[in-house]
Symmetry: C2
Subunit: 405 residues, 2 copies
């Protein structure tokens, strides 16, 4: 029995007319597979409205009860959608996270999936051609309702595909795939047909947020092929899958960028063991996400530490640095919010020398000063002044020939 998982987001199920489009996609899917598992998000706006309601009832709503409340959003969309299928005489039923069950830990509001009862699902697949599953939700071992956090419906879909050994998991959204860079700032941006999980992870975390990052990790771990495509056209979209040799032939897959960056430099920090921990542990405790970190080799027993954070965390970060200053013996703290990050991503990078050098040369030629550099196996990240971001993206896109078909 060939099973296809199809996930549709909140904008795709927002109205009756859009749900009818979704129904057409699902009926089309039924011609390509024996059975369909449809995973739906709450209708656009519903989740935010429910969270706002909770906020009226309590300044700090109980997290477990908040999940009971918010999970009604998907419950509404799956029941409405299944009505459409039943009206066509299709053998279908809705399934809540707790009915399958999709068992999670008890981190209410951001639970992680632990197990899916695939035996029960296979039983229902004998009786029904289409199962309509609520995304974003599950339940604890003792049946309390949980939600998976923002973007969790993508994770639900991939996890269901993994549990059932589904050939492919289709994630329908309002764009028709993953692009080599943002088409809004680079007119030659091109849709990518195939992309490796690692590349996709680097793209997601940089703001090319077509797929929720946890769903990509899940897909990579369980080797689920994920196809990102649009509810509103018939384009085959982008396949996110395991690396293969054809991908490695391509040096670079995409250029990502992120303008939400603030840079903080700690000057003349004592170069003794435990200093990095003294700086970054207090930030982590306050949920400040640190992005790039650079520490140069020490010359005279002192060194400079530079890191970047989200701009909204800047004031809190400067406060924490003032507190810890005596412990790490620095001379001064300097910060800059007019910075942005550009990344060159590709699995080909690890097998080809000189990619970084080519990127630096191209930027230098246009007079763009490089403020920080950080590299990983498949990514080169460069911090520059914010005003150069669009230019830098276009230069790098061109340098690595991403507009070639």
């Amino acid at each position: 029995m060939q099973i296809l998982v199809q996930k549709f987001g909140g904008t795709s199920v927002a109205t009756l007319e859009r749900m009818e489009k979704v129904r057409d996609k699902v009926l089309n899917g039924l011609q390509r597979a024996d059975r369909i598992i449809v995973v739906l998000s709450a209708r656009a706006g519903d989740t935010n409205n429910l969270l706002a309601l909770a906020g009226q009832w309590s300044p700090t709503p109980d997290k477990a009860e908040c999940d009971v409340l918010v999970s009604t959003g998907e419950q509404v969309s799956i029941s409405l959608f299944t009505m459409l299928l039943k009206d066509m005489g299709i053998r279908a039923r809705s399934l809540l996270g707790s009915q399958i069950p999709i068992v999670t830990d008890d981190s209410f509001g951001c639970a992680r999936i632990r197990a899916i009862n695939s035996e029960a699902l296979r039983g229902w697949l004998e009786q029904y051609d289409i199962l309509v599953v609520a995304g974003f939700q599950g339940c604890t071992e003792d049946k309390r309702v949980t939600t998976l956090g923002r973007g969790g419906s993508d994770t639900s879909a991939v996890a269901l595909a993994a549990a059932l050994g589904s050939v492919e998991c289709e994630i329908y959204t309002d764009v028709n795939g993953v692009y080599t860079t943002d088409p809004n700032i680079c007119s030659t941006a091109r849709k990518i047909d195939r992309i490796a999980y690692n590349e996709m992870l680097e793209m997601s975390s940089m703001g090319a947020k077509v797929l929720h990052i946890r769903s990509v990790e899940f897909a990579q771990k369980y080797k689920v092929a994920v196809r990102v495509r649009s509810t509103f056209d018939d384009d085959p979209g982008t396949l996110v899958t395991q690396e293969d040799s054809s991908m490695e032939a391509l040096l670079v897959s995409g250029i990502a960028y992120d303008k939400d960056q603030a840079r903080v430099t700690l000057h003349d920090v004592l170069d003794v063991p435990g200093v990095a921990a003294a700086v970054f542990c207090p930030l982590s405790e306050k949920d400040v996400l640190v992005d790039m970190i650079v520490q140069n080799t020490s010359l005279d027993g002192h060194t400079d530490i530079t890191f970047t954070i989200s701009r909204r965390d800047l004031q809190q970060t400067l406060g924490i640095m003032a507190e810890i200053s005596p412990k790490i013996g620095m001379s001064k703290v300097v910060h800059d919010v007019n910075v942005a990050k550009v990344s060159v991503i590709g699995v080909g990078i690890r097998n080809h020398s000189g990619v970084a050098a080519r990127a630096f040369a191209a930027l230098t030629q246009e007079g763009i000063n490089i403020l920080m550099i950080s590299t990983s196996e498949i990514k080169i990240t460069i911090l520059i002044q914010e005003k150069y971001v669009e230019l830098a993206v276009r230069i790098l896109h061109d340098t690595f020939g991403l507009d070639w078909t």
Copy 2:
């Protein structure tokens, strides 16, 4: 461990301010009992809005999916209410029908409760002081969501009280009890302190719809004392309980009426076996509820059959009568919509002769013509012209001394 069940209807939980009043009632209850089970309806309007949504999606929404949709109404109210309790540091949690579970049959939209897992409830009552349970909903043996139909939250509350051997089940509503008759038409109407289940059943079915009729049947079957009282004052309300000798001392408990009546008379019907079935089976198949039925003794092999129905069913009923006319050989069909029903109710009626005679005499004295009579053990029902209803109610209320304190 003394357990008190308290049920609050949709108007009592419609807004944050009202929910705060409900919280006060529940905290007050916690001073009278060791543990509280709070049963909530959906916020006023929510259930109707969800049904309207289903109606937009489908002219005949799938009943099982409709229950998945509509049950979100109570899910919202129990989670919001539990947030309020948690904010006060109270050990509380919400429970969906399917979490307990409250097991029902699979008559989606009007399911009947089959069993309640009282062992699980007792387990939670060890951990929590207050359990906030979604009324109106349950699930089938195989965990599909069901709803109990209109007024089902009353039934949920009584069933929970029965399952836990609760001392009392308090049903909070927007009136402070059951009255001897409608105070809007009889200024001397008086609140009843105690009323027998049978009397309450006759009152409910006549439009004095303070309690859902099924919940009273349930309470009677499992001997649960139900107290009807107001969310908005401290009146002790009305206790609905088993008959006792003090009740029988009262001849009559209340006067009910119903203006939604249409009378249909079939003249000169053949008086042969099977005629009544030929008339009433087709009506039942079309869900026409027949209320009073009177058939006189036959004189010449022909008889007249008269019955009353809801006015909205009149046209359909006349159509059906025309269809079956050849089978039952009647001479003509006469109907009248300007009729109404007045009932005298009391467990004392069965032990006292002459109650009916007193009622008829009182009406006759005021020139009110009696169109039909039907009697049961504890009720005398009289059909009169609609214009006399208010007068008849006041006369009967006075005749049986219901304004006495």
